[in-house]
C-alpha cells in the first residue's frame, strides 16, 4: 500500500497543498486533473526526486519520506519516454539492473522477459531515436517494469501518442496490470483513460485533491462544479434545497435522491434525460414541459437544448433523434429520475 499523508511541496509556480491519498496493493489508481494541477510534482515526490516540505510517504508500511529515489524501488515513466538516446533499447531496459550490478546472464534474461511482455523483443538492438512514439513508450515501461517496482508511476503515458497507438497501449496497460499485479499510479488529464483502466480515481486541481472514488462514483456523483464539469456533466443547475427532498431551480422543483438544505448545485448528465413529444407519466420522476431551443449534431450523437424555464442539455443517439424528429420550437417533455439528479452544496468548494 502506498500512503501519501498530508504532503505539501512548493516548487515555484507549481505546488501540492496537504495532499493525502492511499493506494491499495495492486490497485490501478488514476490521478486526473488539468495541466498545472500539480500532478507531475506529486509523482516526482512519490518517486523521491523531491522531498516534501511537510508530510510523509509510506510504501508497504515503510516510511520512505527521506529515502533517496534510488533506494525506493518505485518505477517512473514519463509522457516523453525519457529513453537514454545513447543506449540501445536493450541497454535502456537493462540500465537499472546494471546499476544493481546484477549478473549479466540474469540481466539478459530479465530484459528479454520484459521486452516480451511489451512486445518489443524485435527492437532490442535499435536506438530510441529510430523508434515510433508507441515503441518508445513500450521500451520506457519495460525499463521500469524490469526492476519489479513496488509501485509504478506513469506520468501522462498515453498523451504524446496518436489515437490508434493510444488505444492499443491503453488496452496493453490493462493487461500488464492484470499480469503483473503491480500497484500503478497513473496521471492524466484525459477522462477516457479512467473507465478503461482505473480501479479508483483522484481528481486534482491547483495542488489539491478534490475528490477520490471509483470512476462510477466520480462520474455519477461529482462533489463540486469543477469535478462535474471535468467529467462531462453538462447540466449544472444552481438552486435551493429543501428538507422534503426537492431543489428549487428558478420555477422548477426538482425531486432529488440525496436532499439537503440551503444553496446547492444539481448535476444531471445529458444522457440521463428522456425527451418526448408526448406527455410522459411521472411515476416518481421529474417531468417538465419545454420547447426545443436548438439542435447540434455531434458525430453519432445529437445534442438537443431544451428550454423548460431552465436550459437543459439532452444527448440523444442519432437514431433516437431521427425517429422522434425534434426541431427547434417543438413543444416537448423531458423526464429524469431523482437518482439522476446529483446534489452537492454549492459555494463551499474545496480547492476553489
Amino acid at each position: 500500500m502506498l500512503v501519501i499523508d498530508s504532503v505539501s511541496k512548493s516548487l515555484g509556480e507549481f505546488s501540492l497543498s496537504n495532499v493525502s491519498l492511499s493506494v491499495e496493493d495492486g490497485e490501478y489508481f488514476i490521478v486526473l486533473g488539468p495541466t498545472g494541477a500539480g500532478k507531475t510534482i506529486l509523482l516526482e515526490t512519490i518517486a523521491g526526486i523531491y522531498s516534501p516540505d511537510t508530510g510523509r510517504i509510506l510504501l508497504n508500511g515503510r516510511d520512505i519520506t527521506d529515502v533517496p529515489a534510488r533506494e525506493r524501488n518505485i518505477g517512473m515513466v514519463y509522457q516523453d519516454y525519457m529513453l537514454f538516446p545513447h543506449l540501445t533499447v536493450e541497454a535502456n531496459i537493462g540500465f537499472g539492473l546494471r546499476s544493481r550490478r546484477a549478473d549479466p546472464a540474469f540481466i539478459r534474461g530479465k530484459v528479454e522477459g520484459s521486452a516480451d511482455l511489451l512486445n518489443i523483443s524485435h527492437l532490442l538492438h535499435r536506438y530510441p531515436g529510430t523508434l515510433s512514439g508507441g515503441e518508445q513508450q513500450r521500451a520506457a515501461i519495460a525499463r521500469a517494469l524490469v526492476m519489479e517496482p513496488e509501485a509504478l508511476l506513469l506520468d501522462e503515458p498515453l498523451s504524446a501518442l496518436d489515437v490508434k497507438t493510444r488505444e492499443n497501449l491503453r488496452a496493453e496497460l490493462a493487461q500488464i496490470h492484470e499480469a503483473t499485479g503491480t500497484t500503478i499510479v497513473h496521471i492524466t488529464h484525459n477522462f477516457e483513460e479512467v473507465f478503461d483502466l482505473a480501479d479508483r480515481v483522484a481528481i486534482m486541481r491547483g495542488g489539491d485533491v478534490i475528490q477520490v472514488g471509483t470512476p462510477e462514483e466520480i462520474f455519477r456523483r461529482p462533489n463540486s462544479d469543477f469535478v462535474a464539469g471535468f467529467v462531462g456533466v453538462e447540466n449544472l443547475l444552481r438552486g435551493t434545497g429543501s428538507p422534503d427532498g426537492t431543489v428549487a431551480v428558478e420555477d422548477l422543483r426538482i425531486r432529488v435522491e440525496n436532499g439537503m438544505s440551503g444553496p446547492v448545485s444539481v448535476a444531471i448528465r445529458p444522457e440521463e434525460i428522456l425527451l418526448s413529444k408526448k406527455i410522459l407519466p411521472e411515476n416518481g420522476k421529474n417531468v417538465f414541459s419545454g420547447r426545443v431551443d436548438s439542435v447540434r449534431p455531434n458525430g453519432g450523437l445529437v445534442r438537443v437544448f431544451v428550454d423548460a424555464g431552465v436550459l437543459f442539455k439532452v444527448t440523444l443517439t442519432r437514431q433516437g433523434f431521427e425517429e422522434a424528429g425534434f426541431a427547434p420550437g417543438d413543444a416537448v417533455y423531458l423526464a429524469f429520475r431523482p437518482s439522476a439528479a446529483h446534489v452537492y452544496p454549492s459555494g463551499v468548494q474545496k480547492g476553489a
Binding site: 518517486a47 529515489a69 525506493r72 525519457m82 538516446p85 540500465f95 544493481r100 525499463r143 521500469a144
Partner: protein, 265 residues
C-alpha cells in the same frame, strides 16, 4: 526597376555578402601564398618553427584539458542547481572573456609575481612568470569562459528528467551524471573543447604578459609570429601564420560539425 522577382535590395545585400567573403579569402590567401613554396616548407621545417609548433600544441592541449576539468563540474552546478550568489558567479566567470587579454595578463603577472600566493607557489617550485607554465595558465584563464559557456548550455539542453529516471533505476547523483548526462553531452563537450583548444593555440596577449616572448623558450606560434615580424624575418612569421590559419579553419569546421548537434536531445 527589378528584373523578374529579384529586387534591388536583394541584389545589394547579396553583393555585400559576396564582397566581404572575397575580402576574407583574399587576406588569408595573401598570407599563405606570400612566400614561395620552397621557402615556406623550409621555414616550416626549421628548428624554431618546429619548437613553436610543439610548445603550442603541448600548452594548448594541457590548458584545454584543465578547462574541461574545471568547466564540467562548474557548468553542471550552474546548469542544475540554485544556490546563493549563482548569478554573481555567472557574471564573474564571464569577465575574462570580455577583458582585453593584455589586462588579464597584467593581472596574472601581478598575482603570480608579487602576491603572497604567487610567491609561495614560486617557493614550491611552481614558477609561472616567464615560463611555459605561464603560457598554460594564461590560456586557461582567458579561455575558460568559452568552455564554460558551451558546457553549461549543453547541460541545460539535457532534460533533468533523464537523471530523475536514472535515479529511480538505482543511480546516485554522480552515477546519473556519468552514465546519462555526460554521454548525452559528448557532442557539446567535444565542440567546446575544439573551440577552446583553437583559441588556446592563438592566445597571445595574456601569454605575452605572463610568460614573456623568449625565443625558443616561451615561443608559441603567435609569439613566433610576433618575434619574427619585429626582427624582420618575414618568411618565418609567414610560416607561423600559415599554420595558425590551417588550425583555425579546421577547428572551425569541427566546431560547426559537432556543435551543430549539441541540442539533439
Amino acid at each position: 526597376m527589378s528584373k523578374g522577382n529579384v529586387s534591388r535590395f536583394q541584389m545589394v545585400t547579396i553583393a555585400v555578402a559576396l564582397l566581404i567573403t572575397a575580402f576574407i579569402v583574399l587576406v588569408l590567401i595573401g598570407v599563405v601564398t606570400h612566400s614561395p613554396l620552397g621557402v615556406l616548407i623550409e621555414c616550416l621545417l626549421s628548428e624554431e618553427i618546429q619548437f613553436a609548433v610543439r610548445l603550442s600544441i603541448i600548452t594548448s592541449v594541457v590548458s584545454t584539458l584543465l578547462c574541461i576539468l574545471v568547466a564540467v563540474p562548474v557548468a553542471y552546478a550552474l546548469a542544475r542547481y540554485t544556490f546563493p550568489g549563482k548569478s554573481l558567479m555567472n557574471m564573474v566567470m564571464d569577465i575574462p572573456m570580455a577583458l582585453p587579454p593584455l589586462v588579464a595578463g597584467v593581472g596574472l603577472l601581478l598575482f603570480f609575481g608579487v602576491s603572497p600566493i604567487g610567491k609561495s607557489l614560486d617557493a614550491m617550485g611552481l614558477v609561472f612568470v616567464f615560463t611555459p607554465l605561464g603560457i598554460i595558465v594564461a590560456q586557461f584563464f582567458v579561455n575558460l569562459p568559452y568552455m564554460l559557456r558551451v558546457t553549461r548550455s549543453t547541460f541545460q539542453g539535457v532534460n533533468p528528467r533523464y537523471e530523475y529516471v536514472a535515479k529511480t533505476l538505482g543511480c546516485t547523483d554522480a552515477q546519473a551524471f556519468w552514465r546519462v548526462t555526460l554521454p548525452m553531452s559528448s557532442n557539446g563537450l567535444l565542440a567546446g573543447s575544439v573551440i577552446t583548444w583553437s583559441k588556446g593555440i592563438g592566445e597571445f596577449g595574456a601569454a605575452l604578459m605572463l610568460a614573456g616572448a623568449t625565443r625558443m623558450k616561451t615561443e608559441t606560434l603567435p609569439l613566433s609570429l610576433f618575434l619574427n615580424m619585429s626582427t624582420g624575418k618575414l618568411e618565418y612569421a609567414i610560416a607561423a601564420a600559415t599554420i595558425l590559419i590551417m588550425i583555425s579553419v579546421i577547428s572551425l569546421y569541427a566546431f560547426e560539425r559537432y556543435g551543430g548537434a549539441t541540442h539533439v536531445y
